[in-house]
């Protein structure tokens, strides 16, 4: 096992898949000469060349659209949308094209596309550059939405996404790139659409993903010091959503807290809680709690921004409420 950062893990996944399959190309703003806004594709342009690593104009609609078209015609493009906030300008391509084309034409066209993008707040970038609208995309059947919380999963899931025959939105978190973790030597894949227990415990189930997985794991550490053993389930994929490990854990602990980086209303917590109530109502010992971002556009001011985002203490407080 090697210990590497999230950035390295994602970069390795891309590099290995490009090495392995000629059909994989990268396109997006500043992915080439610049080396990627978040330095994920540093060195790719020199190694793979300008035909495989394509700098695009600032035109999200045609970035996603050209990637769709190239995927239809048999390539396996990895399009980078600089941040998820700009994916709204590509929303029509993602929602009305990527997610529909296979079904709408009776199955004769495949769109094996990956859109990599970066979400999340906490970097004082103001309200338009700090959003976590993952659920917006997870709403649409036909699209897969993946959001890893560890380097291990980021690498294995991105490789799986590139090999998937369906369009996959791969959401990285802006504040996780330096997060370190163990990654196996050599080739491995992680399955899309499979949730995973990242920490075992018997007292309460914390359901989370992406950045909030890390926050939840830290909260679990602190709770353990007080003798409370939390089980942390990482969704990893929002669509298709795998409730198996969540329900299994809940049937054991009978208490759940769901932690997400986006807004609470109509969010991941709402969905997961509803499914627990539907599927495991007899096991409910306490009302399920949701921890999420405050319902405001994020402010610039450092303290205020952090105050609006879910913190370790918020998770700990919620856990104590359900116990």
């Amino acid at each position: 096992m090697a210990i590497i950062t999230m950035r390295q893990a994602i970069s390795q996944a891309l590099w290995e898949e490009m090495d392995r399959d000629e059909r994989v190309i990268i396109l997006g703003e500043e992915v080439g000469l610049w080396g990627g806004t978040y330095a994920v594709t540093k060195g790719f342009y020199d190694h793979f060349g300008p035909e495989r690593v394509r700098d695009t104009p600032i035109a999200e609609g045609v970035i996603a659209g050209a990637a769709n078209g190239a995927a239809m015609a048999g390539l396996r493009p990895v399009a980078e949308i600089m941040t998820i906030n700009f994916a709204f300008l590509a929303m029509d391509q993602i929602v009305n094209h990527s997610a529909k084309i296979h079904s709408m034409f009776g199955g004769q066209i495949k769109v094996p596309l990956v859109i990599r993008t970066v979400g999340g707040g906490g970097r004082q970038l103001g309200s338009t550059h700090s959003q976590t609208p993952d659920v917006v995309f997870a709403h649409f059947p036909g699209l897969k939405v993946v959001a890893p919380g560890t380097p291990h999963d980021a690498k294995g899931l991105l490789k799986a996404a590139i090999r998937d025959e369906n369009p996959v939105l791969f959401i990285e978190h802006a504040t996780l790139y330096q997060t370190r973790g163990e990654v196996p030597e050599g080739e491995y894949l992680e399955p899309i659409g499979v949730s995973k227990v990242q920490r075992s415990g018997r007292d309460v189930t914390i359901v989370s993903y992406s950045k909030m997985l890390q926050v939840s794991l830290q909260a679990a550490e602190q709770l353990a010091a007080e003798g409370i053993e939390a089980e942390v389930v990482d969704l990893r994929t929002l669509r298709p959503l795998d409730m198996g490990p969540v329900l299994q854990s809940f049937r054991k602990t009978n208490r759940a807290v769901i932690v997400e980086g986006g807004w609470r209303s109509f969010g991941v917590g709402a969905e997961v809680a509803a499914r627990i109530y539907e599927e495991a109502f007899d096991h409910v010992d306490a009302p399920i709690r949701r921890v999420a971002q405050q319902e405001v556009p994020l402010p610039y001011n450092r303290e205020l921004e952090q105050m609006m985002l879910p913190q370790i203490e918020d998770v700990i407080r919620a856990v104590k409420e359900v116990l």
Binding site: V62, A66, G69, D92, S103, P112
Partner: protein, 317 residues
């Protein structure tokens, strides 16, 4: 072009016309649902352009797609079956009128979000460029689509990346009820391509041979690895879709254009040049009529798709 090929073009145009007229009836009988956009009046554009492609060249268009589908070689059976939502339709009843496709014939389909397929065309062309082929991508769209952001993003990208796209604007003078001059800052649409330094031409879209010739010349350049913009001046004789009150244009204007009916003009041309006599052309018309009637029977007798299919097609397994 040899005699047979010319007669084949005539047949295609008549087949489209007859298929569209029959579709209108089926719509009135409530056998076709949703939106139905007829191609009547524009036959020379689709048929002329597609006749100039090589079989490997890609074709993609908007929702007004029946004529282009036929021009690409889809049969009346699979088109009408799709309009009726049947399992035997080219898109298995999943798409309907606006979403015909047949990838084996390199017809990548009709798309219903105005302008949304222009970026797809750049992607199809990008894949060909990457593979080093000289396959062209032909993208049809309406005049109304030239005012949306996608148009500009796609034209620009095709030029910066030297993509082999033939952009074909079917200027039928209106986007729904809005005349070109009321919607576009530049009413000579061809000129928009100049903003991207793109070679361009305008052609009489009611003259199938002129369209074909202009396309052959354009494709010559496209195959060298550059986009080209072709504006075909045309007109739809029917409403935008079924149930259009047509308050935005006069009957006189419609009649004026109908005098230049592309099928009538081609008919006169074939007679005048002694390529075919009246009897031969009437035989083609009868054959088209028969193909459409046979297709309607086929479609009506076809089964509906199963509910399982709807679930099965959400993702590639």
């Amino acid at each position: 072009m040899d005699r047979q090929e010319l007669i084949r073009l005539y047949y295609q145009m008549v087949l489209i016309r007859r298929l569209e007229e029959r579709s209108a009836e089926l719509y009135q009988q409530d056998k076709i649902g949703g939106f139905l956009h007829l191609y009547i009046g524009q036959e020379a554009v689709g048929v002329g352009v597609v006749s100039a492609r090589r079989p490997q060249d890609h074709v993609i268009t908007a929702y007004r797609d029946h004529g282009i589908a036929i021009a690409c070689g889809l049969t009346a059976e699979e088109v009408i079956a799709e309009l009726l939502g049947k399992e035997t339709g080219c898109s298995k009843g999943m798409g309907g009128s606006m979403h015909l496709a047949d990838v084996d014939k390199r017809f990548w389909g009709g798309y219903a979000i105005v302008g949304g397929h222009l970026p797809l065309a750049t992607g199809l062309a990008l894949a060909e460029k990457y593979r080093g082929t000289d396959t062209a991508t032909i993208c049809f769209f309406g005049d109304g689509s030239t005012n949306i952001g996608y148009f500009h993003e796609a034209l620009n990208l095709s030029k910066v990346w030297d993509l082999a796209v033939l952009w074909v604007c079917e200027n039928n003078q209106y986007g729904m009820g809005t005349a070109v001059e009321r919607a576009s800052a530049v009413s000579e649409i061809r000129r928009k391509a100049e903003g991207y330094g793109m070679a361009n031409a305008q052609v009489d879209g009611m003259d199938v041979l002129a369209v074909r010739q202009a396309t052959l010349e354009a494709l010559e350049r496209v195959r060298q690895g550059e986009p080209f913009f072709l504006e075909a001046m045309t007109y739809r004789f029917r409403g935008h879709s079924m149930g259009d009150p047509e308050r935005y244009r006069t009957g006189e204007e419609v009649r004026k254009w109908q005098e230049g009916d592309p099928i009538g003009r081609f008919y006169d041309h074939l007679l005048k040049e002694k390529i075919a006599d009246q009897a031969a052309l009437e035989a083609e018309e009868a054959r088209a009529e028969k193909e459409v009637e046979q297709a309607v029977r086929f479609a009506e007798a076809s089964p509906d798709p199963s509910p399982e299919q709807v679930y099965d097609l959400v993702y590639v397994k």
